[in-house]
């Protein structure tokens, strides 16, 4: 017992000395590393303002915002904004739309781009491969403002290509596209795929061309058909990439592509039932077309559920393949 206390004292003495030398070292270190800290300053300051201050700003979801007295002086109302939000039909609609669209997008994007990547890999002429890649990637670079012009040229009631050329040709009546919500799940999905398929094809293609030619040679010797090669070699070997990309997308399932859902339906109120998502709801609330406090509550709801989903997705990625986990 005594021995132990004595030992304890002795080690604490050594600890103190060690600590002192560490402190001195650290001071010298700080001086030495000062230029590095100065380099980091603008970036860290930026994240403080652009990312961390807004996180603190999330407290306004728990206030009744009164612009005449300012945000800081506004009254605290606890969870009242959330209660309001979840008592409206909107909360259900925006959650449903956000998740359902994302689920459809994830499944279609994955299966279509894998199919395209595999077919692209069949083409042996490098120049053609490069050419096709460039063309299908082009829509990825176009802003949603321009895309909404493109969609408008197809769907405008009076002058659109659909109403003037396509529908008359098949003997159908004109459709007021921007007023009939039932068509929009198909329209938005098509536009999303049109814009995004090139990008994800390129990612899958990078995985497909990484597969060693030897596997295919061996399979051919065994007389395996192309289909067999695809399902027994290509797809199993790119499965890690498929899982990774899918989980990352699931982590973002609570976030919608604002441009797609705001610009492409031209912000048409008649379509909200099938086009309103959390991001557009928050935006309209902010710009005074809805309730600011409820919009903030919806934003906080999105951030928190989104955060939980990212953590969950990463947890699963760690389980599946540790080196691909984000953290």
């Amino acid at each position: 017992m005594e021995q132990a206390i004595y030992e304890d004292k002795r080690t604490s003495k050594i600890d103190k000395e060690e600590k002192r030398t560490i402190l001195v070292k650290r001071k010298r270190n700080l001086k030495k590393f000062m230029p590095l800290f100065i380099m980091m300053l603008p970036g860290l300051l930026y994240f403080l303002i652009n990312n961390y201050l807004p996180m603190l700003g999330m407290v306004i979801a728990f206030k009744e915002i009164n612009f005449t007295v300012g945000i800081i002086e506004s009254d605290w109302v606890g969870f009242k904004n959330f209660e309001y939000l979840f008592s409206t039909k909107d909360a259900w609609i925006i959650t449903r739309n956000t998740i359902l669209y994302n689920v459809v997008f994830i499944i279609l994007t994955m299966s279509i781009s894998i199919g395209i990547a595999i077919l692209l890999n069949e083409i042996k002429n490098k120049i053609f491969v490069q050419f096709y890649q460039s063309i299908i990637l082009l829509p990825h670079l176009i802003s949603f403002v321009i895309i909404s012009y493109l969609v408008y040229s197809a769907l405008s009631l009076d002058t659109g290509f659909m109403n003037n050329t396509v529908l008359p040709a098949i003997g159908e009546d004109r459709v007021s596209w921007y007023m009939e919500p039932q068509y929009w799940p198909y329209i938005l999905t098509s536009v999303h795929l049109w814009k995004g398929i090139g990008f994800s094809t390129l990612i899958y293609f990078a995985a497909v061309i990484g597969i060693s030619e030897e596997y295919y040679e061996a399979a051919k010797l065994d007389g395996a058909s192309k289909f067999k090669q695809i399902f027994k070699i290509t797809i199993p070997l790119i499965t890690p990439v498929i899982i990774l990309l899918t989980l990352l997308a699931i982590g973002r399932i609570f976030y919608a592509d604002f441009g797609l859902f705001y610009q492409v339906p031209m912000n048409s109120g008649m379509l909200f039932d099938t086009t309103n998502v959390i991001d557009t709801y928050v935006f309209r609330g902010l710009l005074g077309l809805g309730d600011v406090s409820m919009a903030t509550a919806a934003g906080v709801y999105q951030s928190i559920v989104g955060f939980i989903l990212v953590l969950t997705a990463n947890f699963i990625i760690r389980r599946v393949s540790k080196e691909n986990a984000l953290f």
């Binding site: 650290r26 270190n29 700080l30 590393f33 590095l36 380099m39 980091m40 603008p42 970036g43 860290l44 930026y46 994240f47 652009n50 201050l53 807004p54 996180m55 603190l56 700003g57 999330m58 306004i60 300012g70 945000i71 077919l119 692209l120 069949e122 083409i123 096709y132 460039s134 063309i135 299908i136 990637l137 082009l138 829509p139 670079l141 176009i142 802003s143 403002v145 909404s148 012009y149 408008y152 040229s153 197809a154 405008s156 009076d158 002058t159 659109g160 290509f161 109403n163 049109w194 990008f199 390129l202 990774l244 928050v282 935006f283 609330g285 902010l286 710009l287 903030t296 951030s303 953290f327």
Partner: protein, 294 residues
Amino acid sequence: MNDEKRWQIYGHVVMIILSVLAIVPFVLLIIASLTDEAVILAEGYSFFPSELSLEAYKYLWNMNDIITRAYGVTLFITAFGTVISLVITSLLAYPLSRKDLPYKNLFAFLVFFTLLFNGGLVPTYFVYTQVFDLKNTIWALIIPIILTNGFNVLLMRTFFKESVPDALIESARIDGAGEWRTLWSVVLPLATPIMATIGLFQAVIFWNDWMNGLVFLTDTRLYSLQVLLNRILEDIQFLRTADLGGQASDAMANLPSASIRMAIAAIGVIPMLIAYPFFQKYLKKGIALGGVKG
């Protein structure tokens, strides 16, 4: 062998169909912008209009003040914003790539956490309008998207770690180079691929951004091209109220709105279509580099 050939043909057929689908909307846009107004009203936007006309472009030429100004704003925010992005990103990424940086994990976490969690649009809006007076300034089009989150920083850090050997930095130090000098003359020359990639992605983001204009601007003189396009799409009437000077007001009476909409979108998209062949190579490389981790 026969099997190979057949699959090659499948590949070409599918890719040709996809390429056509990717291009066709742009073709319709350009043809529509070149179609006579009366023809559009009678036949709608069409690939084979019965009469072409340059009326919409002539009209836009008359209001070139607004459009030139918007182009100027877009060019400025794209050039300036991209440079600032690259400077801030590399200055933060380099120290984080150093194994000996004190509190490295803490700093890396602060950067990384911005990928996982964000305050959302409303608090961000209040920070930029109430704490900093960004509303109706040109900075509103630049600052919120310089970095957005830590993704590019982490991408660049990984590149530095993998492509700049520690020994090289050590020998620069022994030769008496300070940290700034090391970064400038040892690290950055090795980092041109990642600088090109991130620079390109950022340039596209700045060029295409319309949301900050929508959120922070009411002053039409600060409109970038995308913000102007957005405003015109919302309201073709905007053209009438915008300050166009005296002689243009005659043209207002018979505004060719159906073709002018498309002409103005064409003006927005054509520079991208022209520049695209020159940078598509770097873009594809960049996607392979950052895509999976993104």
